[in-house]
């Protein structure tokens, strides 16, 4: 199941190119990250919105604070007028116009900016708090002014309190809507706490304390309630001025560098003001505490002046604090924008960079791989030369280090090296195979030639066999003929034997008469030989003379040689030896002459007895010839007698030979059959050789597809 799924997945992935797959991976990994980053950006936009609301709140709050203080002053002057009878008309008129301006300003700001935090007229008119909207406050204020003359002091106080209460509610509404108290940065939080919460409270306390003090001044009777109230007020105020306000300022200054970067003006502006403000507030507190103790030395007039003065100062301080707060918030605002900008740049930039990286990585892999694929295709087509060129071209384009380098991390490089090695090896192997193919071809050619030769030889053999067979047959027939002839001859020989016997007896008679003739001629020959002997003696003498001459010649030769060896001294001797030599020659000549004479004499004797010699010779030769003939005839008879049984033997042998010839003929037939078989085998072998040739041819065709360089 799992394997099937894996296979499916693989097949699915194989439809796409590496570039597409890598891009998909990039998108899969990058998109969620980008989404998270964008969401984060939206959070930042939220925080921008947040800060924006804060800014709006602060903007609205500035006139509100002034309005509160001025309203309080207005109330103070109004009641001061009532209780002391001092006419504060000018001051009240100034405050009237001031309050009017501030309300107008408030309305204006509220209309333009208030929508951001939901405190604009339209929004407020729809909700429950419609009466808190600035125009409604304006109306309430105008109503209070118009009715102030007619109202009793108690009602007036209630009206003032109600207006102040509404104002306070509106301030709270603004504070809540602008989320001012939720600011996460410490400095802003403490400044907000100071200016939004503590200072309006301070103003309120100061106002309330003044009213209580005035009441107390009017009514000299000891009033427990008033005492308790003023004690509470002064305690609270003291607590605020000595503890909470300074600690808030301190905290704001201390925390400021941690959050939005150090803003020196907070410390520079607020610290001296705070000191001044605190001493002033403490001085007024002391007045109120004295009032409590009933040893007031101040009149209503003075008290009013002091109180409004303090309120003004308080307002200044609060404005300064608000001003710093605005600055802090502004910095925060800008800072948030920077953050948005950076995050945006980082997220989008990283995404784009990743995509570019993926693209180039994929490209860097795909192009060489495609190149290698092309090389492989070339190899499959057998174009090794082109493959080699492509390897080098690709290596030049994509490899930093040369092919021959020893080590490289790049897998592409390894691939190239492997391909390069493969091509080299392939080339070597193919060349070897080519050579082997050629060798095999030549061997095959040789084999086929041999086979053809063998075939021819077999054919020849067959022909020879046939010839031998024919010859065998001929031998057979001629043997038969011959044996017939031999029988014939044997018969004829028998007849000849009879005739020869007759001839032999006749010849014996002739021989006897011839023998007597020979006897006569022998005698004559004896006499002649005697004569020869005598002449031979003379010849002996001549021979002796000749020997002496020869020896003399030898002597002269040796003498000449010795004389030559003796050189000059032998010259005389040399002449002597030459003379001896000449003498020897002359002696020899004389001997030759004598010999010649003797020979002539002997010839004469020969001529005398020649007739006898001839006769005797003829007789002798006739006798010998006749006896020779007789002998011959006898021999023939004997031979013929001996031959006859031989003929029979020959005849039987001839028969055996005839049988042998028949056997030869049979054997030849068998041999012929064998030759035919052999020829068949050879034709099979020839076919096999042709097949081999075909195989080698196809191998060569395959090899021919490969093109080598060089």
């Amino acid at each position: 199941m799992l394997r099937k799924l894996t296979l499916r997945f693989n097949i699915l992935l194989r439809r796409y190119t590496v570039l597409t797959k890598l891009t998909m991976i990039g998108v899969l990994l990058g998109l969620p990250l980008t989404i998270i980053l964008v969401l984060n950006l939206f959070n930042l936009f939220d925080s921008i919105d947040f800060v924006d609301k804060e800014k709006t709140g602060i903007k609205i709050f500035i006139p509100l604070t002034s309005l509160q203080v001025h309203l309080m002053e207005h109330k103070a002057y109004s009641f001061a007028t009532i209780s002391s009878g001092v006419d504060y008309q000018t001051k009240i008129a100034a405050l009237n116009s001031q309050i009017k301006d501030e309300l107008d300003q408030l309305i204006k700001i509220n209309n333009t900016e208030g929508k951001n935090i939901g405190v604009d007229n339209e929004t407020m008119n729809l909700g429950e708090d419609y009466y808190l909207s600035p125009p409604s406050l304006m109306a309430q204020w105008e109503k209070l002014l118009s009715e102030s003359k007619r109202l009793s002091p108690g009602d007036l106080l209630t009206a003032y309190n109600k207006l102040e209460d509404n104002l306070g509610k509106f301030m709270r509404l603004v504070t809540v809507n602008a989320r001012l108290t939720l600011d996460p940065s410490g400095d802003a939080y403490h400044l907000i706490y100071l200016s939004i919460h503590l200072m309006p409270r301070m103003h309120d306390l100061i106002g309330r304390a003044f009213i209580v003090a005035i009441e107390d001044a009017q009514d000299s009777l000891f009033n427990n309630e008033r005492l308790a109230e003023i004690i509470y007020l002064t305690r609270t105020m003291r607590n605020l001025i000595t503890d909470e306000i300074p600690s808030a300022v301190r905290s704001a200054i201390d925390l400021d560098p941690e959050y939005n970067g150090r803003l020196p003006s907070i410390d520079g502006v607020l610290s001296p003001m705070l000191e001044h403000y605190r001493s002033d507030v403490i001085s007024i507190l002391e007045i109120y505490e004295n009032i409590i103790r009933n040893n007031s030395t101040y009149g209503t007039e003075e008290l009013t002046g002091l109180t409004t003065e303090k309120l003004d100062e308080s307002l200044d301080f609060n404005r300064a604090a608000l001003n710093e707060l605005e600055k802090v918030v502004h910095i925060n605002y800008n800072y948030t924008y920077y953050r948005i900008f950076f995050r945006f740049i980082i997220s989008v930039g990283a995404f784009l960079l990743a995509m570019v990286m993926i693209y180039f990585t994929a490209k860097g892999m795909i192009t060489p791989v495609n190149g290698v694929a092309e090389i492989a295709r070339d190899l499959s087509e057998g174009d090794i030369q082109s493959a080699k060129e492509k390897v080098f071209a690709l290596a030049e384009r994509f490899l930093v280090s040369p092919i021959g380098a020893k080590k490289e991390k790049d897998e592409i490089w390894k691939l190239f090296r492997a391909i390069h090695g493969t091509i080299d090896n392939l080339e070597i192997i193919l060349r070897q195979v080519g050579r082997a193919g050629i060798a095999v071809t030549s061997s095959v050619t040789q084999i086929s030639a041999s086979v053809q030769a063998l075939n021819a030889a077999i054919n020849q053999q067959a022909a020879s066999t046939a010839e031998v067979k024919a010859t065998g047959k001929e031998i057979y027939s001629s043997s038969i003929q011959l044996s017939e002839t031999v029988e014939d001859v044997a018969e004829k020989s028998g007849r000849t034997l009879q005739l020869a016997d007759k001839g032999a007896s006749g010849l014996t008679e002739i021989n006897l008469s011839m023998a007597s003739l020979e006897q006569g001629s022998k005698e004559i020959a004896e006499k002649l030989s005697e004569l020869y002997k005598k002449t031979s003696n003379i010849t002996n003498v001549i021979t002796t003379i000749t020997k002496i001459a020869t020896q003399t010649n030898l002597l002269s030769l040796n003498a000449s040689i010795e004389a030559e060896k003796a050189g000059e001294y032998g010259a005389g001797f040399s002449v002597v030896s030459a003379e001896i030599k000449r003498l020897a020659e002359e002696t020899a000549m004389a001997a030759l002459e004598i010999e010649e004479t003797i020979r002539e004499m002997q010839q004469a004797v020969k001529a005398d007895v020649i007739g006898v010699e001839v006769y005797a010779g003829t007789t002798r030769s006739s006798v010998s010839r006749i006896s020779g003939i007789a002998d011959n005839i006898n021999e023939i008879i004997e031979y013929t007698k001996g031959v006859l049984p031989s003929f029979e033997e020959v005849s039987t042998k001839m028969k055996i030979q005839t049988d042998g010839a028949a056997q030869i003929s049979d054997a030849m037939s068998e041999l012929n059959d064998v030759a035919l078989h052999t020829r068949e085998s050879i034709s099979e072998f020839s076919e096999i050789t042709e097949n081999l040739e075909g195989a080698v041819g196809s191998l060569r065709e395959i090899l021919a597809k490969f093109r080598f360089g060089g």
């Binding site: 020997k547 030898l554 030769l557 000449s560 040689i561 030559e564």
Partner: protein, 152 residues
């Protein structure tokens, strides 16, 4: 130059007289068993045993005929610095002629086997060829022939 002439078959040859010790008449030889046929044998020459070479057998593979004029020419045979005596069997050893050096002509054809044949002289009675005695015996035979002598 004085030369002794003789015949081998129908050809006439000559040997320098300075190389000849003596010309002696034909005697009976003691034969060499299993020797080449051109060694006719050995004979006693003034107390020394001298081998005899049959020139006709050497040149033509026919044995010399024993005429009256057939004689043994005893020559000095020099090999390895030692002088030995060698008998040469020739036919018609009968004449001595005097030859001038300028009369001699180059022989033309000389094979390896007939290195003993020297220059030619054209006389009225026919052509005579000089024989170099030293080359008569083939080198491989030469050594075995005189070995015993050397050891002595």
């Amino acid at each position: 130059m004085l030369c002794l002439t003789f015949e081998v078959g129908e050809n006439r040859y000559a040997i320098d007289a300075n190389e000849i010790i003596e010309v002696v008449p034909l005697v009976n030889f003691t034969t060499f068993p299993k020797a080449p046929s051109y060694f006719a044998g050995r004979f006693n020459y003034r107390g020394e045993i001298v081998p005899v070479l049959d020139l006709k057998d050497l040149m033509m593979s026919f044995q010399t005929k024993m005429y009256l004029s057939t004689r043994i020419i005893v020559v000095k045979y020099e090999t390895d610095g030692e002088i030995h005596q060698l008998g040469l069997l020739g036919e018609k050893v009968m004449d001595i002629i005097r030859i001038r050096d300028d009369e001699l002509q180059d022989p033309g054809l000389i094979t390896e086997e007939t290195r003993y044949l020297g220059r030619l002289i054209n006389l009225k009675s026919g052509v005579v060829q000089l024989i170099t005695v030293k080359e008569l015996i083939p080198p491989f035979v030469r050594e075995s022939l005189f070995r015993d002598v050397k050891e002595d």
